[in-house]
């Protein structure tokens, strides 16, 4: 990729054509060598950890909601809404994610139930988002192919900042559900949802919209804001933690490469954030081995860290690393952060990607 090429993030445009023609789409990705016995052990499913975590999650959601209702009309309701909002608007993302992969529980129906609940909390169509995430794993940060690139280049910093409020997501997600409920899918959605699955997306959207209508009707009937502040609106005030943790997954790193060590970041986080995020801070590990459940990711990390860039020791450290890269990308969008590998790692291989390494900061 010589010189700066304007990126086209649509999934049916020029970058899509280039990605397919150059073999970047559906490519063979780099994997750290792990003995079959070891990875098989790590992949094993178990209901225990996810049942425990889901009970804690549900009790915390219901408890904080009860506190918020009890103290409604006083300042004391705010800390309860703070907790409730994060559980509803942020931790639902990791539950959606893990249950979408089907790795959280061994029992499939448990994954499916939590997946549907979390999708609703996030205002995400459970069908379209399942497929967009499959694409994200096939073509991680491949421009024109990946439907889940959070910060495009050149970065829109105002947009990135507003993401913490949930306003942009809310403004996109709710109208998208309404559109889908009327049976309309965009060309991008049609590019990753197979035709035989598209009607399911429409049905799911109708269910979501029906629940929102019922919530508003209840609020009108009760002459109270409580129903909407508890259902739907937490997607606004509780989404900040999801963005705080989720943005770090790929931001500022390479695009159009087929080595997750170059385009994905692992960050050490505090135990509360890791509970909310279900260990997705081990994100390089997750992308390399998406079959490994969230509770086994720390073990996987220990097993393969010799082959990965040094993780960021904290979110603060990671954001400090990202800021200068974003500012540089405003003027020179090919610029990215190339992370150093330890001496024990297999080096980045030129034949695995076509990225312009001269644009990299090391």
């Amino acid at each position: 990729m010589a010189g700066t090429v304007k990126r086209d993030y649509s999934l049916v445009g020029e970058s899509t054509r280039i990605a397919i023609e150059t073999g970047l789409a559906s490519a063979e990705w780099y994997h750290t060598d792990v003995p079959r016995k070891a990875i098989k052990e790590l992949m094993q499913r178990s209901d225990g950890p996810a049942i425990r975590d889901t009970i804690i999650w549900m009790v915390a959601i219901l408890g904080s909601a009860a506190g918020a209702i009890y103290f409604w009309g006083t300042w004391w309701c705010l800390p309860f809404f703070f907790v409730y909002g994060v559980l509803y608007g942020s931790s639902s993302d990791s539950r959606w994610h893990e249950c979408g992969h089907g790795t959280a529980f061994r029992t499939r129906w448990m994954s499916d139930v939590v997946y549907q609940i979390a999708s609703f909390m996030l205002m995400r169509n459970p069908v379209t988002w399942r497929w967009s995430h499959a694409r994200h794993h096939t073509d991680t940060i491949i421009v024109g192919r990946d439907a889940e690139i959070a910060v495009m280049r050149p970065p829109d910093l105002l947009r990135a900042a507003l993401a913490f409020t949930g306003i942009l997501d809310f403004r996109y997600s709710l109208p998208a559900l309404v559109r889908q409920a009327f049976g309309k899918l965009t060309p991008d959605e049609k590019s990753y949802v197979p035709e035989m699955e598209q009607h399911k997306a429409v049905i799911a959207a109708r269910w979501h919209i029906a629940i929102y209508i019922a919530t508003v009707a209840l609020a009108v009937f009760m002459r109270s804001w409580i129903p909407v502040v508890l259902i739907g609106v937490p997607r606004l005030y509780g989404t900040w933690h999801m963005v705080l943790t989720g943005l770090l997954q790929h931001i500022g790193l390479a695009d159009n490469v087929v080595d997750h060590r170059l385009n994905t970041r692992t960050v050490y986080m505090n135990p509360i954030s890791r509970f909310i995020y279900w260990n997705m801070n081990y994100h390089v590990e997750h992308h390399m081995f998406p079959m490994v459940p969230y509770h086994a990711l720390p073990k996987l990390h220990e097993l393969i860290k010799h082959d990965l860039p040094e993780p960021n020791p904290s979110m603060w450290h990671a954001y400090r690393e990202v800021w200068p890269v974003l500012f540089r990308q405003l003027k020179y969008e090919d610029y990215f952060l190339k992370r150093e590998l330890p001496l024990t790692a297999r080096p980045y291989r030129g034949e695995f990607h076509e990225v312009n390494m001269s644009a990299a900061a090391e």
Binding site: Q44, V127, P290, M291
Partner: protein
Amino acid sequence: MADWVEACAVDDVEEEDVIRFDHGGRTFAIYRSPDDEFFATDGFCTHEKAHLADGLVMDDIIECPKHNGRFNYKTGQAKGAPVCVNLATYPVKVEAGKVMIQIA
């Protein structure tokens, strides 16, 4: 006439596991179920080109390592998104400690 081809020795596949077998430019997956029966399917997921032999066998399910798509490896049935197309299966027999599959 379909040929019987030696795929592997019985001991090459652990119980509740899968291995890859390449033959004639094609790739197959050979499974050993928890009740010690052998099965064979195409080696690649029908969703995208990922080797099922890198996946996880749970009871009668093989889960693809790339997108966690699930198939019943005994029948080839796709068990839901992101896999929608069934997997081809092949007859298997065990003779003198060898796993044989019949390839059309």
